[in-house]
Assembly symmetry: C2
Homo-oligomer: 617 residues x 2
């Protein structure tokens, strides 16, 4: 036995705090606040007022362990229901024992939220690709079967399948079979429709991989997925290089219509970007492109058409019909993707000209495709696609919410890059802001301007029409019209005032009005009111970043309790991964696209009035 003598005052005991859902652990001194603990664990948490108990944005939920009783600030900023449910403000709650604390998605900073994307999905018997390990009989004078025939015979002897073999796979066989000493892992695709096909011949025991891509108008996201475990092994993102041809879908359609060479350029630019994403994924995971034997690409209808080389003229002219809406399966090589030469690429169905396969993917990821509950799903972007499932009936619409949520057309707008104001709280008589990566403020991103408008409205700085109160000390008439200060030049990263203007507010009104009007139409068509919603699922980058409370406050989102909201991150990407590893999900996508009732808002009776009624804050 060793006796340890303490000299001097005892150090405070170290306590362990476990953070959910990441499972990250951190040791802190007894009596520390949870905000310090979370920050020490390098988990990005929203704390607009900087930890002064003033803004209420650093909400967490205590799952286990003892903490000091709620402070006055917590009692004032949290509702009694929240307190009873274990919610605390991280900056106020002090740790008295080892504990486990959950961080709601709404309290995570934008970059942190994205880190949750692309988690694993389950792989079942409905896997689209089946690896079959076979020992192939080598040829000899007494056995002159072709390479393909002897491989197929071996596969049939192993599992009874006799897949078709296309030329790109046939071309690999002689070399590959001999290089592997006639012992290989054949990968057989079991498509949703049609005959099974041999899609790749890998070294024995190789885990086959799949590629899922969300081809967004602005961003590309790619996921490398194990087709055996469903685990996402690597993910990578990039801007869509087609931005050089126009920020929005319509301007790209116009460019593509100018000449076949332009359409080709649009296509080539995105194919090249996807190629470099695939390279990144392979480098990250230490795997070969050759092991990628299946792919799913989702995108809106225009992205889908441009990638496949389909004409887009009819997409850009009333009545805006797609060339194709059914699922497409094409050789990945024919699209220009460098995967295993035999890999197919699956593009899920489109619902309509402005409701594409990316929304179908989001509908799947959000569980709207197979629910009897009443669920609203929104994929908010330049175009916002909305679906409502009510009693198993799906209705969809698309609404032109404009680029304001992406920071465009906002005087000091910017993307959610470091230094962008992403959260705003009005405390006392001024605005407190939190920026991306806590860098000094240089502009405002979509969630920041949304917060700013909601807080300004609550504080009476704005009226319901969006007019700024001239009486308020932060409001002045700048060269850009009535303006409201968020961050003084002395605090800003670029030495200039960060403010928003009346016309910024109007942009937000137009955007939120469009989203609200679309929602109202779907509810009206279903014959229900928003109280009937069991759940509201928000997908997409902005739908994930935004403060749901603020969006509800300005009337953009239905006024249902916040715990009915779910923010699922890149739903399109997740849906793509689900379809990648599941034939059932592909069938469900086909079925969803088919039974989804598309409502064209531009010709919906009374839509202009519904839209006008949705504008006030």
């Amino acid at each position: 036995m060793t006796q340890v003598l303490h000299r001097g005052p005892a150090a405070p005991p170290r306590l362990r705090v476990e953070l959910q859902p990441t499972g990250r652990r951190v040791d802190v001194e007894a009596g520390s606040d949870l905000l310090s603990a979370v920050q020490a664990a390098a988990v990005g948490i929203v704390a607009v007022c900087g930890g002064h108990g003033a803004c209420g944005s650093c909400k967490v939920r205590v799952v286990r362990g003892d903490l000091a009783p709620p402070t006055d600030a917590e009692r004032s900023l949290l509702g009694p229901g929240e307190l009873a449910g274990g919610f605390r403000l991280a900056c106020q709650a002090r740790v008295l024992s080892d504990c486990t604390v959950g961080i709601p998605e709404g309290s995570l900073s934008a970059s942190q939220r994205l880190a949750f994307e692309g988690g694993g999905v389950a792989v079942g018997a409905d896997t689209p690709v089946l690896p079959v390990d076979v020992e192939v009989e080598p040829p000899g004078l007494g056995d002159l079967r072709s390479d393909a025939a002897r491989l197929l015979d071996a596969i049939a002897a192993t599992n009874g399948l006799r897949p078709e073999v296309d030329v790109p796979v046939l071309a690999q066989l002689p070399t590959r079979l001999r290089a592997e000493g006639w012992s290989v892992r054949a990968v057989v695709s079991q498509p949703e429709r049609g005959l099974p096909r041999l899609v790749g011949v890998l070294p024995p025991g190789t885990e086959p991989l799949g590629l899922a891509v969300d081809l967004g108008t602005t961003k590309l996201a790619a996921y490398l997925v194990s087709m055996e475990s469903g685990t996402t092994l690597a993910q990578a993102g990039a801007m869509n290089p087609q931005i050089a041809f126009g920020e929005d879908v319509m301007s790209r359609i116009t460019r593509a219509n100018e000449s076949p060479a332009n359409a080709r350029l649009l296509r080539d630019s995105v194919v090249e970007a996807l190629g470099s994403l695939v390279e990144q994924l392979c480098a990250q995971s230490g795997r070969s492109y050759y092991d990628i034997v299946d792919a799913v690409v989702v995108g809106n209808t225009a992205m889908h058409h441009l990638l496949l080389g389909l004409p887009v003229r009819q997409l850009g002219e009333a009545p805006y019909v797609p060339a194709a809406s059914d699922p497409v399966e094409a050789p990945a090589a024919s699209i220009g993707l460098r995967l295993n030469p035999g890999a197919p690429c699956y593009l899920p169905p489109n619902i309509a000209g402005f409701v594409g396969a990316d929304h179908v993917a989001m509908v799947l990821a959000a569980g709207l495709g197979s629910t009897e509950r009443t669920v609203l799903g929104l994929d908010i972007g330049t175009n916002t696609e909305i679906s409502l499932s009510y009693r198993g009936h799906l209705r969809s619409c698309s609404t032109a919410s404009g680029p304001a949520f992406e920071g465009a057309r906002i005087r000091q707008g910017m993307r959610a890059a470091p230094g962008a104001v992403e959260h705003v709280r009005y405390v006392g008589d001024r605005f407190l802001v939190q920026t991306v990566d806590n860098a000094p403020a240089i502009g405002i991103c979509g969630s920041g301007i949304l917060d700013a408008v909601a807080e300004a409205r609550k504080a009476g700085v704005l009226d319901s029409r969006g007019a700024l109160s001239r009486q308020h000390p932060l409001v002045w008439r700048s060269e850009h019209g009535p303006s409201c200060l968020l961050v003084g030049a002395d605090q800003a990263g670029n030495g200039r005032d960060i403010f928003f203007t009346r016309s910024d507010v109007n942009e937000i009104q137009l955007a939120k009005g469009a989203v609200r009007a679309g929602t109202k139409v779907l509810l009206a068509e279903a014959g229900i009111t928003e109280e009937a919603l069991d759940e509201v699922v928000m997908a997409g980058a902005f739908g994930t970043y935004l403060d749901v409370g603020s969006a509800v406050a300005i009337g953009m989102l239905p006024a249902v309790p916040l715990d009915r909201y779910r923010q699922i991150g890149n739903g399109a990407g997740r849906g793509a991964v689900e379809m990648l590893v599941s034939r059932d999900q592909r069938s469900l996508a086909r079925e969803v696209a088919k039974r989804s009732e598309y409502i064209e808002l531009t010709v919906y009776p009374g839509f202009v009035d519904i839209f006008a009624d949705s504008l006030p804050l």
Copy 2:
């Protein structure tokens, strides 16, 4: 009533002669000989002695009408059975009434025989492509279906089919549907296996076309066929440009193995040649490549592999196995063929490394695929493929007969071009010859050297070992060894003696020995002798040109009555056309390739002895 007064001697009455199988008609004076009639009708007929009743080569068969009684020459040159069967010598038989005369294939000159190729084939319910005329509902704000969906709905409403649509066809739809005012002829493929696919969208009422190609080592033959009537609308031929890489299959395999770039060059050269054939066919028929919605390409296994970009290394090394033997269906565009962008290209199965799809096609064209009769089929060329059907059991082999039959390795050998000696008869004490197009003799083609050897043997100029008799006045020792004069320099087109040498005879012995030995093995495997053969079908250019009597005389072909022989011209091309218009024929091809028992002669017990026994003349 008009009375006609004859003044002076009456002109001899004009009589009508109808020639079969062409149906061509010609009017001649009473008492004319049939040879003049046939020549007047511009039908190429063999008449080696020039119409002097000396050689017996201008055999015809009288179907109907009166002729003068047989001459002494006929009685001596035709057997009693032939005379009883209506056979006459055209140069001797004089016309006494209107008559109908059949010209057996063996009496037609080479160029004339080829003119019979590519006749129509019947199109039945098993047509691989089904034209569907549809009126498509144009889109409107109340009907936002995609272009593809509305077309598919219209097709389904018309005939219940709902075909798959691949990207190349999707890409045509928006433009094509609008250009045709929403009234189109959709062409649906009904593949042998797998789902129906939309392969083209044509202007309403357009007759869909198909392309059949025989991809020979030496020659390419292409046929443009109506997929509605089965009629061959145009045909065109060209040399295989791969000849620049080597005359025979093995040397091309060697070149392809040297580098991927070489393999690519081999592929590109033949793809380019096919492209120019397609252009010729379109120009000849006044049709557009866009109307070609299906294709069938047959070739030997090496041609097949090189066209598809499959590796050929294993084809060139023992045990010579193909990469693929099953039928392949690939987009024509992926092979580099410029047809309708949606057109598939079907490549029938190969039997073995040296028995390719061209032989399968020939087996179909010859009716060997579905017969209970005992039929031998030979496709004679540099490699000779032989199949024997006995009691429904098919056996095949391939034998290296060498290029002698194509005029190669023969001292004065040449292809069957104008001036090539193609027929030889020994009459009196000298050789009489007929040349291609009756041009002055400049060399000897395969059928000519075969005839020369057979006639020389009959005349005792040659012994059974192939030695030339020094006693014969036409034999002398030239600088090339013992030689035998065919055409004197004064008669020749190039002012030089046309002769054959002992080593030419030996080349023919090796070639005919290989063919005979292969035939013997197949007969032995079936346990029958040649007398059991109900029919012997000869295909390929040389198999069509050659004089069957001569080939039998030198022991190359089985000694069965000549009326059991059938020369079908380009059987591979005809089989390709049959598969082009018939799914049943494609299924039969698959079945034939599967159940055909391939016998590898190089390892066949005692083959060397069988071959040696087959050499004597």
